[in-house]
Amino acid sequence: MIELILQNPLIAALVALVGLALVFGAVLGFAAIKFRIEGDPIVQQIDKLLPQTQCGQCGYPGCRPYAQAIANGDAINKCPPGGQSTINALATLLGVEAPSLDAEHGEENDVKTVAYIREDECIGCTKCIQACPVDAILGAAKMMHTVIASECTGCDLCVEPCPVDCIDMIPVPQGLSDWTWDMPPPAEEQIKAQRHPAGIIATDRGDNAA
């Protein structure tokens, strides 16, 4: 037997390869069981990255359904409240190129907003209360309603149903506690700012004659 193998290089090669395949297969199989990572299901991971405004701008009735849809292969650029940073995070999670935001679903808004009800105009129809996905509006029929600002996600789903248009989306005011430094501007802008100390910012990027 051994002689046959030694004499016949074809068989020797075959035996060697099959043997290697078996060994590595066994190692891989062992590793797959031994080092298995117990992770969240992908839908949950996606849902964690979404901003949870529950606004439905993506075309799904809430963030979780959209997460489900992404897991089933839907595009990841349908979330305007999350903006580019959410798209990037999703792209990293799913290992795909990050596309830019699909304008069809709305534009990214840098300024965070909360709903505000002009209370003396409110007629107490409760339509906004039914529309709010996070129960952030308080009130009863024929009583004026009010928004719990800290719970409002700024999804503006309550604006449309209001029959007297008494709901405004107002920007969240910045206080001392949430003030932070901005990132410094890129070097090119610094150079331009210095070259035009009067504060005129040159728009001509080709302006590079010293």
């Binding site: 150079i191 590079n208 010293a210």
Partner: protein
Amino acid sequence: MALLKITSPHAHTAQSTASVMRLVLLATIPGLIALTLFFGWGSLINILLAGSVAVFCEAAVMHLRKRPVMFYLGDNSALVTAVLLGLALPPLAPWWVVVIGTSFAILIAKHLYGGLGYNPFNPAMVGYVVLLISFPVQMTAWPAPLPLYAEGVSPPEFLASLQIVFGLPGVETVDAFTAATPLDTLRQNSGLLIAQLYEQDPLFSLARWAGAGWEWVNLGFLLGGCFLLYRRVFTWHGPVAMLASLSLCAALFYDGGSSASHGSPLMHLLSGGTMLGAFFILTDPVSSATSNRGRLIFGALIGVLIFIIRSWGSYPDAVAFAVLLMNFAAPLIDNYTLPRTYGHKKSRRATEKKE
């Protein structure tokens, strides 16, 4: 009163990138003097040629990238690359070799990766390796050091050197002046004990420690390196680790000076591009490891690689290859060599999310 709103600190040292680069350029002077003294004007011509090509390339790229040209030229980084490449190339190398090497270094190795601060490989060494692989004949033709010249024969004058470099007719070709380097000699040695070799070969017999001319060139770069260390342009970790590991390897394989020996530690330290590599190439901050611990590992592995390639590889010198190979490894080293931050029990890995 226009009161600025600027983040602290409001004070700054006088040091700038340009001044750091200037210090590096200054520090190459002892080595350059030694090269010129022992090998003629070739290195100076290399440097001038490479310098002008580098500045031109840099300006062209900045123009193409629509950046303010003078601002970026002002950091002197292109000049440093050019000078290091010029010092590494054989003196009296043909002009086109220098031009190709320099433009490759600046255009491909530096700016294609995003310019200063973003290049993963040392641009000068990339240029050098490209030339070494593409034009091995020109790249291994080193002129003989001054002591080897016969009585009455002198190395070419400055104008003659220029003529040789630009291939103008009327002078002898460079082949007339070439001689083997100490590392070449050692490689080709078979059968002679080291002691015998040192006695018989004029390259060693006319030298004080390690190889005529070469020892002084290396000492020149060592002097320049010490100056930079003194001025705190870089830390000691990288160079010292490299020199130590190279010496250690050489000592291990010295084999008592037998015919199979790979040369003494002193010979390895003072020949080839050892000192240039130790103080000017692997200390390039952009492409080396970041932390001090990382630099120790980075330098030590370069030393080992240099010795391996010199002893068993097919190229006589190995600084460029060793440095480039370790440039590859630098991010990995960085990942495992984060310093221990104040208040932490031990250092963590860069990819660790939680301690």
